[in-house]
Amino acid sequence: MDKQSHIPPRWGERLLLWFCAEDRVEEILGDLDEYYDLYASQYPGWRAKGYYAYHVLSYLRLYNWKKRQNSNNWSMFRNYILIAWRSIIKNPGYAAINIIGLAVGIAFSALMYIYVSNELSYDSFHAKSDQLYRIITVDKRIPDDVRRYGQIVPPVGPALVEDYPEVVGQVRLYQPNGQIVFDINGEKHQEREWFVTHNDFFKYFDFEFLYGNAQTAFASPKSMVITEKAAQKYFGRKDLVGEVLETGGYGPVTITGVLRDLPENSHLKFSMLFSDIDAGEDWANYLNSWQSFGAYTYILLAKNSNIADLSNKMPAFGERYMGPMAQVMSIEYQAIRDIYLASERIEGGINDKTGEVHYIYIYIFGSLGFFILLFASINYINIATAKATFRAKEIGVRKSIGAARGQLMMQFVTESFVVTGLAYLIATAILFGVLPYFNVMADTSFAVDRPSLMIYLLPLTAIAMTIALLSGTYPALYLSRQKAADTLKGEVASGKSSAGLRKGLVVFQFVLTIVMILSTIVISRQLNYISDKELGFDEDRLLVIDINSRNVRAQFQTMKNELAAIPGVDAVGVSSRVPMEWKNIGEVFMKSDYSELAANDSVKSYLMGFDEGMKETFKFEMDEGSYFESNSANDSTRIILNESAVDALKLKDPIGARISILRGGSSYDGQVIGVVKDFNFQSLHQKISPLIIGAWNNPASMIDYFTLKVSGNVASVIDAAASVHDKFDLNSPMEYHFLDQQMDKNYEAEQRAGLIFKLGAVLSILVACLGLFGLASFTIQRKAKELGIRKVLGAGDGQLFVLLSSSFAKQVAVAVLIATPIGYYVTNEWLSAFEYHIDPGVGTFILSGLIAAVIALLTISYRAYKAVHSNPVDSLKYE
């Protein structure tokens, strides 16, 4: 190493040059440079910077402090801090409101900042992330239903590299089966998070190695890397390099590397990654076939090329390799950094994100953090300005002794720094105390260790400094402007305009609070609605078992009988897909001569294969006709439609109608034997679509699941089912889950959002109330004399109370008026993502307005009550 390749961040050098004694600083900075150079290559990205920050800060100790000449400025500064401290001590109540309000604001906004920046940082940790793109297949076969897939025909990747010099390289990943089974010390395991790729993978994707390294990991075929977590889970230890994994189907595979657990902000998630494990001919044919599908392909674009230029060349490329098919199938590119945030319309990508909307939450949480912080600082400014009246004399005295305006301003800014500094300390404690809970709530995993804490401290510090500066400046300007003579007389021009401003700010805060309360109510009502909604079948206590082997499929009837014989199992159904559970339900087109639609009109529909046991298991109801009565082999072309399908096809008399069902290139004719009442078979984001229920042995689907209706002891049923399963499936352990738990996963994003909203609502209420409380105290204190006189003249408690609280009540009322339309718009937007949703209704709006009003009233009434009940003598004898 003759030249330094990694330059540490500049701020460390500047800070230490300022802080440390001259005779020490050179060696210190030298050591830090060397340290950073050493670790920057080991830990890419922010980790090295975090450690660096930690070490820089470790030098900030008195021992290294540069001795400075004692100047007058310095002692004045010390005096400012002293005065600031005294003014805090003198009014502990105000100070506490200020500091706690600010601390909560800072902590929450820092939390939101961390959250949002993490969401935005997805897939940015690869050194080449700006050049990596994912290939998207666009399927335009149906003009008004254009679909996008995150997979493509396998040979496209290599062909692109071959044809276009700007495509520097490509990586393909595949998942040949849903799961890979393997054997460790005679015990069978299976893993679903697995991919097969090839030796270029680690050239483009930078994942950290714990053992082994990126250069050699995939140097030879039949090798694999495993993540730390999976290693621990399957082997109970981590140093596995050289171990051989006995896989089912691919034989022995050598472990060549162990990866540090994948970063949370990676869209690529896997436990095991294999390199070229299948040497068979079928596989080679698959890779070269322009007819097959299913390769997740990423390309690396040359540094100075533009992805739009490449996209423009794609029509010609398609023409060249796919001929006329290129008219309806085309290629698009998606930057790897967009995958996490903007894939809600792209199906079948790695760790599919279809339908998951992320960016809207970024706006919501970003603005939430911003507003709460804004209000906390506004409250500070408000209270500081209000308090000025009480400090008028101090300002007057300082001015007449000769303090320049700049010095006075300096004093108030210093005060604001002291208050913010205290708030900052508390905010730090809050943030680190709250993070573990937030992780659980928002399903994030922000590390709570030393280097990451340093990273979080940066936004926290920046936020605190900005607040200190901004919120110190306004009161400073305002207070230092006063004329000395006026202030000594006790008159501070508080001014009509600033009173109006203050009222406006209160209104503004309550608008946000009411919107937050409203959203929280609407979200939790909607989530309740979802979990209580009648789906049209009974989803309780349904145990779903996957069919993972050909052997099971062949003997399913025998296995089903054995499952049904288990005590505590009421019914067993066999099906190709389970309603409400699986995203990719087969899609077909149907048309019929019996239909009243124009002759050639076809209708899109979903298709699932059910056996005769499904009706009893799921307890859905028939509208007319009959259900499958036995699993006899001649039933294969019989079908049952749901009501939506009957409506879509416009069948007058559905029973006995013949329907032709087209799937891919092939088709079969089905005869309708019954119509089932509509039930929800997809998440409640979607409305009930047309559905064809085919027989278990219909030509368009394959049976994949057993579903057991359990009435007895769940644990013993699972045990018994597993021993039945193992008799038929010799390769994989039983894979099972409960349908109602699986259903909840459809609404995870909303549930998470609901929790964060609740937190935001509580905090905005807290901040708004602290602000209101401070302001009310101030107003009441100023009106002390007025109250005293009124009391002496015979005003009753009730009258005084109304006098004090009416102006605040008016402000809250205005806030309700403004908040209602905003809240209506926001909640409607959110609800529109659900096909089945509640109608918030006037009641909800009134309720949230009332909650805000009651909270506001309670906040003021404590102060008002004390003022009303005080002895008028106390306030009047003041002079």
């Binding site: 003759d2 050179e26 060696e27 030298g30 050591d31 830090l32 030098y59 900030l60 021992y63 290294n64």
Partner: protein, 113 residues
């Protein structure tokens, strides 16, 4: 004399300086601590401890020639003084002596688990 005793961390540092001679400076010492003693410490802590040992007279230091590494900044190389050697030796002898006079019975009566 109380002030002349070496703390555990100080003793460790002295031995590191002795081991790394003539290349004993901040980062090198910290990395060695991490490698051979599995102790990760902040660099600031290493520096301050080294300076304190120098003030006590157990270590001496000199700035090395500037090189192209480290942004052209010089290293401060530490080496052990006679007093330092004596202090480390005293520590070791005290320890050896205490070890040698532990009665056999002590070890026999240790309960494992």
């Amino acid at each position: 004399m109380k002030g002349r005793n070496l703390g555990e961390f100080e003793e460790l540092l002295m031995l590191m300086v002795a081991n790394l001679y003539p290349e004993a400076y901040g980062v090198a010492i910290r990395e060695e601590l991490k490698k051979s003693a599995s102790r990760t410490v902040a660099m600031g802590a290493v520096h301050v401890a080294l300076s304190r040992l120098e003030e006590k007279g157990y270590l001496k230091s000199a700035l090395a020639e500037a090189t192209h590494e480290r942004g052209g900044r010089r290293k401060r190389l530490f080496s052990i003084t006679a007093a330092g050697k004596k202090a480390v030796q005293d520590n070791m002898e005290l320890r050896n002596q205490l070890w040698s006079t532990v009665p056999e019975l002590t070890w026999k009566n240790i309960q494992f688990g």
